[in-house]
């Protein structure tokens, strides 16, 4: 084999790998568009006002409408209000707590205790959502005597907490030391420095983390199945079983008469999640440290 030949082979394999990488990366992006297209093209038919104003129809009503060729009556109001209730409660629990823990971890990096907490946060973050469901069931469903929105929000809180702790900690770690030193040098108290200087300066990163955590739990189904269970009416009582959009998708999927609603509810869910992601991106860009 002469030299020019081997150079040609090497160049060719170089080209080949380059195109393979481009091709496989391209293929990896296709499913997103397929999923979006599938959900949008099948979901827009039932994506109307009644989706937001009416509660889930009974299986019987839907069967009759199907037989007459009418669109399925009703919507997913009970799921929308349920999702709002459960997620709001989870935000209420997890955000203040997550902020405090995040601040503690970034302020006491070298302590053994902080390292242990940090390790456990990682552990919680990797926990499968179904296991979180079991825990919320054991903590909140059994003692309270039944399925409830509160139990659902306990599950979502356990999911959100480590994400918020991590993003707060990471953001605060990136702030320059001089911020804190300047505040302290001006005679400000330590609490003041933390709450009036560090938190506002890190606002972008912290807020992005919270938004991403919300968008992550918004679509969670498994833990809610074991805790909030679902309901066919609008419910604002935190101690009663409550539905949520993902729970309704699961119900619709299992009920052949209601299957038309599955796509419009998925479409709504995807829109909400992508808007949250999009706002998070804008916030991250705007308040960059």
């Amino acid at each position: 084999m002469n030299i020019s030949n081997s150079i040609r082979v090497r160049k060719r394999s170089n080209q080949l790998v380059y195109w393979m990488v481009c091709l496989f990366s391209f293929i990896a992006m296709i499913p997103l568009f397929l999923i979006l297209w599938d959900v949008a093209s099948k979901g827009y038919k039932n994506f109307n006002l009644s989706l937001f104003t009416e509660v889930t129809p009974s299986s019987m009503d839907a069967l009759l409408a199907n037989m007459n060729g009418d669109p399925i009556p009703g919507g997913i109001l009970n799921g929308i209000t349920g999702s709002i209730l459960i997620v709001l409660l989870a935000i209420l629990f997890s955000v203040p707590l997550g902020l405090f823990i995040g601040i503690y971890l970034s302020e006491n990096r070298e302590r053994k205790f902080a390292k242990a907490v940090s390790f456990l946060t990682d552990l919680l973050q990797g926990m499968p959502s179904i296991v979180i469901g079991i825990i919320a069931y054991a903590w909140a469903v059994k003692p309270l005597g039944g399925y409830s929105a509160l139990a659902g929000s306990v599950a979502l809180t356990i999911m959100m907490l480590p994400m918020i702790v991590r993003s707060t900690e990471e953001t605060l770690k990136m702030l320059p030391h001089s911020y804190k030193e300047a505040g302290l040098a001006l005679g400000s108290s330590y609490t003041n420095v933390v709450f009036r200087i560090l938190l506002p300066s890190g606002f972008g990163g912290i807020f992005t983390g919270i938004l991403l955590a919300i968008s992550r739990v918004m679509g969670e189904t498994a833990p809610l199945m074991l805790t909030a269970l679902g309901a066919s009416v609008v419910n604002w009582d935190v101690l009663e079983p409550t539905s949520a959009i993902p729970l309704l998708i699961w119900d619709f999927y299992n009920d052949p008469n209601l299957v038309d609603l599955v796509w419009s509810s998925s479409l709504l869910l995807l829109i909400v999640i992508f808007i949250l992601n999009w706002i998070a991106k804008i916030v991250a860009r705007k308040w960059k440290i």
Binding site: V21, A28, M29, V39, I103, P128, I130, T221
Partner: protein
């Protein structure tokens, strides 16, 4: 603040306590080894007997297959973003698209797998119903691409420039540089990111529940139906009580231990990389 941080400790202790205390009934009845090694899952009252083995095997089967399927794609994406088009505009486009994949809820993946991928498997004549290990691991693979690729991108783009320049100055082509410099240097980081992706795949619930076919026995092959640890809990938790409920929680405890160990290994590898 110290108190807030202490809550994490309480939380973890409470989690372990809740799982352990509620699964003791099953472990006392069957013994720890007996429960893990028993492939029988029989809820009929007369011959009631519960063992986790078929679900453990189903879980490992789907998760590793998913990892195998996702490997070429996520490695390609990582090279695309971390090496070939590093810092270019197209790379941030690819990155955002792949990140959006991570934002899609599990249940929507399940729907899509059921209505779009399942007919494909039926059309190919692989399987009459379409459900099974293959279907769920294909969809799982798509779900974990963002997790596997985003971290390995970081590690590939962290390879020092002077090493790469050294290779180029010796006359290496780009692929030779990647093969002999970038990949070996970033290898432990890449391994860690795949381990984390594996952890994701093991615990994934809804999509798998909707696609795997839900049969309580050891899957015989790629096209057979089965159940994973997560999907059996999701499927049967609602109607369970007594020893069955305890057995399901015991499976949850096992799943928790497995994912915790896997995450621990990945974290240890990454810590070593960071120190080096």
């Amino acid at each position: 603040m110290f108190f807030a941080a202490f809550i994490i400790i309480l939380l973890s202790a409470g989690i372990i306590f809740a799982l352990v205390s509620r699964s003791t009934e099953a472990f006392q009845e069957y013994g720890i080894i007996g429960f893990i090694a028993n492939p029988e899952w029989d809820p009929r009252p007369a011959t009631e007997e519960y063992g986790a083995l078929s679900f453990i095997i189903g879980t490992i089967y789907t998760a590793f297959l998913a990892l195998l399927f996702c490997f070429p794609f996520s490695l390609a994406v990582a090279l695309f973003n971390g090496e070939y088009f590093k810092g270019k505009k197209i790379s941030s486009v690819v990155r955002s698209v792949v990140d959006l994949l991570a934002g899609i809820p599990s249940i929507v993946y399940g729907l899509w797998g059921f209505y779009a991928v399942r007919p494909l498997i039926i059309d190919l004549g692989l399987n009459a119903q379409g459900f099974g290990i293959l279907l769920s691991s294909v969809v799982l693979a798509i779900m974990i691409i963002p997790y596997a690729s985003s971290l390995s991108t970081e590690f590939i783009s962290m390879v020092p420039n002077n090493l790469k320049e050294g290779a180029y100055s010796l006359g290496a082509t780009q692929i030779e540089m990647i093969r002999f410099i970038s990949l070996p240097t970033a290898s432990s980081g890449i391994v860690a990111s795949y381990i984390l992706a594996l952890g994701r795949a093991l615990g994934e619930t809804m999509a798998v529940t909707m696609l795997i076919g839900n049969t309580d026995r050891i899957p015989k092959g790629l096209l057979d139906t089965g159940n994973t640890m997560a999907s059996v809990i999701a499927n049967q938790f609602g109607e369970a009580d007594g020893i069955k409920l305890s057995s399901l929680i015991a499976i949850g405890l096992l799943l928790f231990i497995i994912t915790a160990l896997i995450n621990l290994v990945a974290k240890l590898i990454m810590k070593r990389v960071a120190r080096a």
